[in-house]
């Protein structure tokens, strides 16, 4: 039993956190958001240099063979900093290629991803056959993995008709049309999608926990510094107790993110894995809502301001609560497993 990151994991998380503090503060991020692209190629190549794009992939392709637990500290740091580069989208695409791609597809794609030369996205949710919705990272992905029926396909971005936009939490995304004609089928599928979605859900849990940490930290800081009636508002007991409940909510959510990542790496079977992931997502959705709403409320008007990072964390938490299924969805799945 051991609840800390191992030395390598901790070193990586620390160096990612240091990099983000230095090169990805709120002002730097604001400039990225204001750019027409909505992401930074420079940041991407630095992430790749730190080995992040290769972390969960086989050494055969230049990766480090890591698992969800190895990524957890990275995702927490990303959540704190609100990284908008489509890291998770690329990981999902490559995760699918690694599981369902042909040997040739793997050779063509995985080394390029590991080296930071290729970005991917996974188009899954449909409105109707062939119409994919809310594909994060799609407008800037080099290739997309697209589900169609029970099969998976690889498509070039250039071959897809897209309607790009920014999501509520400032990610680049698109709705797109897909037909199998111009896409390359992937030989495997079957369990790959379920595995990848569970993997990604666990990582979103960790990322949301990072965003919760920021929301808690910054609210605590605000309570200590903001004065009204001649005293810091943190001296008011009603606000103290609500702050305490936020922190408890965060600790509980973090515990569940640990569980989800650990089970994604080493569950005895798919049901055990999915059950842990759903349990985690239920708690993360509830805590994201609770902490997000309370953090804004305790900040008063400041919490509503686009100029404060907190309002961006709130939007990220709002989206994260729904991403890969909201609490209702996972309550149903949890009970069925």
């Amino acid at each position: 039993m051991n609840f800390d990151y191992n030395e390598e994991q901790q070193l990586l998380a620390d160096s990612v956190r240091r990099f983000l503090q230095k090169d990805y503060d709120f002002e730097a991020r604001r400039k990225i958001l204001a750019s027409p692209e909505g992401w930074s190629a420079r940041v991407w190549s630095q992430l790749a240099q730190m080995g992040l794009t290769g972390l969960p992939f086989s050494p055969d392709y230049g990766g480090f063979g890591g698992g969800a637990v190895d990524l957890m500290g990275v995702m927490e740091a990303f959540g704190e900093a609100l990284v908008v580069e489509p890291y998770l989208a690329t990981l999902m695409g490559a995760h699918l290629v690694a599981r369902a791609g042909s040997a040739e597809q793997k050779r063509a794609i995985l080394p390029a991803v590991v080296e930071g030369r290729m970005k991917l996205a996974f188009a899954h949710t449909e409105r109707k056959q062939g119409e994919k919705l809310g594909v994060v990272g799609a407008p800037i992905a080099d290739k997309l993995v697209v589900s169609s029926g029970s099969r998976l396909f690889l498509a070039d971005r250039a071959d897809l008709k897209m309607k790009p936009y920014r999501t509520m939490d400032n990610m680049v995304a698109a709705d797109l049309s897909f037909s199998r004609d111009r896409a390359e089928p992937m030989p495997g599928a079957d369990q790959a999608v379920a595995e990848t979605v569970d993997f990604a859900t666990a990582l979103v849990c960790a990322e949301a926990v990072g965003a919760m940490k920021f929301a808690c930290d910054t609210t605590l800081e605000y309570l200590k510094t903001r004065k009204q009636f001649g005293v810091p508002i943190g001296t008011f007991q009603a606000l103290q107790h609500r702050m305490v409940d936020m922190v408890i909510s965060y600790e509980q959510a973090r515990s569940m993110a640990c569980l989800a990542c650990a089970r994604v790496d080493s569950a005895a079977n798919a049901a055990e894995r999915s059950r842990a992931v759903s349990a985690a997502k239920i708690k993360i959705a509830d805590s994201a809502r609770h902490i997000g709403q309370e953090a804004v409320q305790l900040h008063g008007g400041m919490g509503m301001s686009e100029e404060l990072k907190l309002s961006h964390s709130f939007r990220r938490l709002t989206v994260a609560a729904q991403q890969f299924g909201d609490a209702d969805h996972h309550l149903a799945r949890f009970a069925s497993l």
Binding site: M168, G230, A238, Q297, G301, L331
Partner: protein, 376 residues
């Protein structure tokens, strides 16, 4: 006990409803229905239509254009406005500056400002909050020094709603920084936004909307005749406004409309018992709040007393209901039919978080009830 409106009240409601059906411009209504941004021109257009009918300021004395309606009629009218989906009537002139002038203003001030407010010729905003003083309003710092028949104003207001539309701002300013009780050094001043030294900086909120602003005063000269009530009595004026009879604090009509729309477009989600139960509970709370509101109104009608801390309860519950509805709408956005509408529902969820913060945060409202109603 009779929870139904009387025959006269029903007839009144029907009259209001029929007139609204015939006079609310379709394009405005559609804009409201799509939760789109309303321009200054949109707001004023509707204001002037109501002014034309003589219904823009029902609560004012008849001599200034009021309708002479009783509190129940006024409630019915406001509820119908909310329910039909009319653009909001911006309260800063009609329901804040005007009542203050009617109570404390000189004849000259009334004659100068009230008709222009009524006709929608002046757009007003409210200069209360400052960067360092939100909940603790009495700590405000904006200074006004009297010299040669003018006040020279320096300082900053913030969260100033629609200041970028406004012709005038009414402000609380500190005229005497030496007074022992902080409240006693405060005065109530009317400032022309076109005066040199007034500048406005937008504050963008997290839904991306420009609604609120910072307003800076840099050696702004204000004629002494724009002081309302006596110098140093600004706090009395502000407190009067807090106790002023407002009929629609709970926003019942508006929330009823949102509930009806939500049911309409989320019908697919109503098979989901989880979603449906949440919706049912909001409907129950809204029904309860409507009756609670009417109970308070009934009490007010009998006693002739201002509503006091009852308003705080309506504010708390009303905003909680508005937020719950906005959240359900976001959750049902997938059913909304168009991506644009779904995105608007997402932005609306973000925007509605402000309701429990503004106009006296719900925490401050709880303090008020604890003190005034419960004696704690």
């Amino acid at each position: 006990m009779d929870l139904n409106y009387s025959a006269e009240e029903v007839a009144f409601r029907d009259e209001v409803r029929a007139w609204l059906a015939g006079n609310l411009p379709r394009d405005l209504k559609e804009k409201v229905d799509r939760y789109e941004h309303l321009s200054k021109e949109d707001l004023l257009r509707w204001h002037r239509i109501l002014a034309g009918k003589g219904w823009v300021a029902p609560a004012w004395p008849k001599e200034w254009g009021g309708t002479g309606w009783n509190v129940v009629q006024r409630y019915i009218f406001e509820e119908e406005l909310g329910y039909v989906g009319a653009p909001p009537l911006i309260p800063f002139g009609l329901a804040m500056c005007a009542p203050v002038l009617l109570r404390f203003g000189t004849e000259a001030q009334k004659k100068r400002f009230l008709p222009r407010i009524y006709q929608g010729e002046d757009f007003w905003c409210q200069g209360y909050s400052e960067p360092g003083s939100g909940s603790d309003l009495a700590s405000l710092k904006t200074r006004a020094v009297r010299e040669n028949g003018r006040y020279i104003v320096n300082g900053q207001k913030t969260w100033t709603t629609l200041a970028h539309y406004a012709d005038w701002i009414f402000c609380l300013v500190r005229t005497d920084p030496t007074s022992e009780k902080r409240q006693e050094g405060i005065s109530f001043l009317l400032v022309d936004m076109k005066t040199p030294g007034v500048s406005v900086r937008p504050l963008i909120l997290m839904d991306g909307a420009h609604e609120v602003n910072e307003v800076f005063f840099d050696d702004v000269g204000v004629p002494a005749e724009n002081l309302v009530h006596e110098e140093g009595k600004g706090w009395t004026v502000a407190k009067y406004l807090l106790g002023y009879e407002r009929m629609n604090t709970g926003r019942i009509g508006e929330s009823k409309r949102q509930l009806a729309r939500l049911k309409e477009f989320s019908s697919g989600k109503l098979n989901d018992v989880r979603f449906r139960d949440r919706l049912s509970r909001v409907e129950v709370e809204l029904t309860a709040l409507e009756i609670t509101n009417l109970r308070f109104l009934d009490r007010m009608r009998r006693s002739g007393q201002p509503p006091g801390a009852d308003v705080s309860m309506l504010k708390i519950k009303g905003t909680e209901i508005q937020q719950a509805l906005a959240e359900l709408m976001m959750q049902a956005a997938g059913e909304a039919g168009s991506d644009e509408f779904a995105a608007a529902l997402g932005r609306r969820y973000l925007s509605m978080r402000k309701t429990t913060i503004y106009a006296g945060s719900n925490e401050i409202q709880r303090n008020i009830i604890a003190k005034q109603t419960l004696g704690l």
